[in-house]
């Protein structure tokens, strides 16, 4: 029940630049994921499932599609008279201008944070898909009497770039942190998720603003001895999306039943905006194996190892393999598609052949006609 006293803050734009193709028209939070979701659905659902009653979504740019998706927060049960969901558009503070880092972004919303009346603030990004439990993260924060708790994993998020590595003492306190270029198996690396006491956060925001510090990492790295910073170890599934390849992998990971069972449990459902599409329809001679398929799809051809979003049509004789096909894409008759990511509303004409490689899937932009 600790979560009742928590304000959730989600950065919807952080790391947009790591998948520039897909975030050209949208925030990281509204990046389509797993057939019927947007990345932000996961963070929002984790928070709601933990019992966090108040959530602010920080936006910076291109947030129309995000607002479209979130609406008043009804799908997450966050459309409430008391508390609930608030979208925090960029606040052009006289001191800061349009924000550059997370600290000045939060500084722009400092009034919202203070007014929340919550004692703790949970701050997360959207480009992490995991089965982390925020309730136990909160409990850990309270047990250790930490001022700040940073979630980390050991060896799970391997290969990521621009990470932070933590050094921990035996009692779990973070004693040092440093930037790393890539993460290897035995490293304890940041999951870009933290709990911080609200009053401390306010103090740090004022301090950082006067010193023109824009990111948490710099601030924390210099203060590991002054602040009680603890590390919360997460051992389940983690995937950090930091480029088109990891985006592709995170989607295809869902074809593994263990990953699916970790992310989609009936007790902790992932909520999303409903689309009222009809169930998927399979035609005569359809052949679909090892794929995730959303409502509104029409499958008349062959589908293997794919993630199909809502309203995708795979025509007769078409073969798609190892691909991510976003909403309302049309694959024409006898087309062949492999290692491809299509954005929304793409049309791949009859008989066309497209093939990327496993380590470099081809991305086809929104609305492109081939």
């Amino acid at each position: 029940m600790a979560a009742k006293n928590v304000l959730g803050i989600i950065f919807s734009n952080a790391y947009d630049e790591v998948i520039p193709e897909i975030t050209a028209f949208r925030t990281m939070g509204s990046v389509p994921f797993a057939s019927r979701y947007r990345l932000i659905d996961f963070q929002l659902s984790y928070m709601v499932n933990a019992g966090i009653p108040r959530v602010g979504i920080l936006t910076n740019s291109n947030y129309r599609s995000l607002m479209d998706h979130i609406g008043n927060g009804k799908a997450w049960d966050l459309a409430r008279k008391r508390e609930g969901l608030t979208i925090l558009p960029p606040f052009n503070h006289p001191d800061t201008g349009v924000f550059k880092g997370k600290l000045d972004a939060l500084y722009g919303s400092i009034g919202y944070i203070s007014d929340s009346g919550k004692d703790y603030v949970l701050v997360t990004d959207c480009n992490i898909v995991s089965d982390i439990d925020y309730d136990s993260l909160m409990n850990y924060h309270l047990e250790t009497k930490a001022e700040i708790t940073l979630a980390y994993s050991e060896g799970l998020a391997t290969g990521i770039k621009n990470g932070m590595e933590y050094e921990l003492s035996d009692d779990g306190r973070i004693t040092a942190m440093k930037y790393i270029d890539s993460c290897s198996d035995n490293m304890k690396t940041s999951l870009k998720t933290m709990v911080i006491n609200r009053t401390l956060l306010e103090r740090l925001l004022h301090e950082a603003n006067s010193k023109r510090i824009t990111d948490f990492e710099t601030l924390f790295a210099d203060n590991t001895s002054n602040l009680r910073i603890y590390g919360y170890r997460h051992d389940g599934y983690v995937k950090i999306i930091e480029n088109i390849k990891t985006y592709y992998e995170a989607n295809l990971d869902l074809l593994n039943p263990e990953v699916r069972n970790a992310l989609f449990t009936p007790e902790k459902p992932i909520y999303t905006k409903t689309s009222d599409k009809v169930p998927a329809k399979y035609g005569i001679a359809a052949k679909a194996v090892n794929s995730l398929i959303a409502d509104g799809c029409k499958v008349y051809g062959e589908v293997e190892n794919c993630i199909l979003f809502r309203g995708v049509t795979v025509s007769k004789g078409a073969k798609i393999k190892n691909s991510i096909i976003m909403q309302d894409t049309f694959i024409g008759e006898n087309a062949a598609v492999e290692y491809v990511i299509t954005d929304k509303d793409v049309n791949i004409g009859a008989g066309k052949k497209l093939c990327g490689a496993e380590n470099y899937p081809i991305y086809i932009g929104k609305g492109i006609n081939i």
Binding site: T274, A280, K281, Y282, A288, L292, L308
Partner: protein
């Protein structure tokens, strides 16, 4: 006082639907699942909002729990409104005593006060028994053009089936000359769809009159409409062309679900201009496994398919394990069909378990005597044991043990 509405809808959802047998043991007929993610009542409710009617009274009586729960505040249909919206109307206690809804007309009579709050010009009466997409606003225009007191939606049915329906003989100007209720030798194939538009002031006085008549069965089709006709009120038939099916029997429910797989059937649920809304379960996309073979079927969110599915409609969260076989069947939410089980020509209700090797239903070709063939039905929550058999045409509502 609520704001005045030109037309409000009253949806008769109190019927048991006894011909659906065990499928309506615990739920009212309008709450029966249909088409992979819908319930029957989604059709009239969605038709209402698509037609611009945002005030709907839903009259419930028989087993209302599931239905009330499903409709909730009406949000999935955009009927959670400050002005109007959906209202569940159950029988209630009055000074003179408690009264159940005695008949369709009586249920409206008992809710005169609800209707009066909106001071409507017209009242649309609907039933929760049919699958169809219809623009009620066009019917209302027709009603107004004819300056009618009552307009009845009508559809032409095949002559050989006509005797199952309430029929109308219609004059050239569209006015109704005569009614015939399920005649042996029909003189018309124009069947009433059970959809009525009344001028509210007229209907109100006939309802009061009908209530005072002790010999009346308080039914629209049997009592109120004949009384209006006899009194010479202006009654018109509004012709509807399109898909319309009563899903009141096991066979028609089965047929109507499979109609969705038939490209020749004129019922497109993938029509963005006339969406059928429903309360969607929160479930991940469906997963088709490495061994799945799916053809000519509808499959929805939360399903996990690793077996073979052919000519079937699967609802949310159905699991078909490797080596299981589903053919010409309707499988409702949460059911698990285990490895080696076979489900054919069946309707399997919610949350049942078909254990390994069990057989439910048979194809007509396998029957020695075709008279014994029919759709097999397994009721909700039932477990069919390992290698057990459910015969065609049977209805099972208790567990069947299997081999250990």
């Amino acid at each position: 006082m609520a704001r005045k509405q030109e037309c409000i809808a009253m949806l008769l959802a109190g019927g048991q639907g006894s011909r659906l047998g065990i499928l309506t043991k615990n739920i009212a007929k309008p709450a029966v699942p249909y088409g992979g993610k819908y319930r029957i009542i989604d059709f009239p409710l969605s038709n209402c909002v698509n037609s611009g009617i945002y005030t709907v009274g839903v009259l419930t009586q028989y087993q209302p729990l599931a239905l009330n729960d499903y409709i909730g505040n009406g949000q999935p249909w955009d009927l959670d409104r400050a002005d109007g919206g959906v209202h569940i109307l159950s029988p209630y206690q009055q000074i003179k005593g408690t009264e159940w809804y005695k008949g369709t007309a009586n249920s409206i009579y008992q809710n005169i006060k609800f209707i009066e709050r909106y001071d409507p010009e017209y009242v649309l009466i609907l039933s929760g028994d049919h699958i169809y997409k219809m623009d009620y606003s066009k019917m209302l225009d027709y009603h107004k053009e004819n300056n009618a007191d009552c307009t009845i939606a009508m559809i032409e049915v095949p002559w050989e089936e006509a005797s199952r329906f309430g029929l109308m003989l219609v004059n050239d100007d569209g006015s109704i000359a005569e009614f015939e209720e399920k005649p042996k030798n029909p003189r018309s194939n124009k069947a009433s769809m059970g959809i009525y538009i009344f001028n509210w002031k007229k209907l109100r006085s006939y309802l009061i009159e009908d209530e005072a008549n002790e010999n009346s069965g308080n039914d629209f089709g049997h009592d109120v409409i004949p009384a209006m006709h006899a009194a010479g009120e202006r009654m018109f038939a509004y012709q509807f062309d399109g898909y319309w099916k009563d899903v009141g029997t096991i066979d028609s429910l089965w047929d109507s679900n499979l109609d969705l797989l038939n490209p020749k059937v004129d019922l497109d649920l993938d029509d963005d201009s006339w969406k059928i809304y429903s309360r969607s379960p929160v479930a991940p996309p469906h997963y088709v496994g490495a061994n799945a073979v799916i053809e000519n079927s509808m499959i929805t969110e939360g399903c996990e398919i690793d077996g073979s599915v052919d000519f079937s409609v699967l609802f949310a969260n159905v699991k078909v394990e490797k080596g299981a076989n589903v053919k010409y069947s309707i499988v409702m939410p949460g059911t698990v069909i285990k490895s080696g089980a076979s489900v054919q020509y069946s309707i399997v209700a919610e949350n049942t378990v078909i254990e390994e090797g069990a057989t439910v239903g048979k194809s007509p070709e396998e029957m020695k005597n075709i008279e014994d063939w029919g759709v097999a039905v397994v009721g909700s929550g039932v477990t069919i044991g390992k290698n057990a058999e459910v015969a065609p045409k049977s209805m099972i509502d208790t567990d069947i043990g299997g081999e250990n």
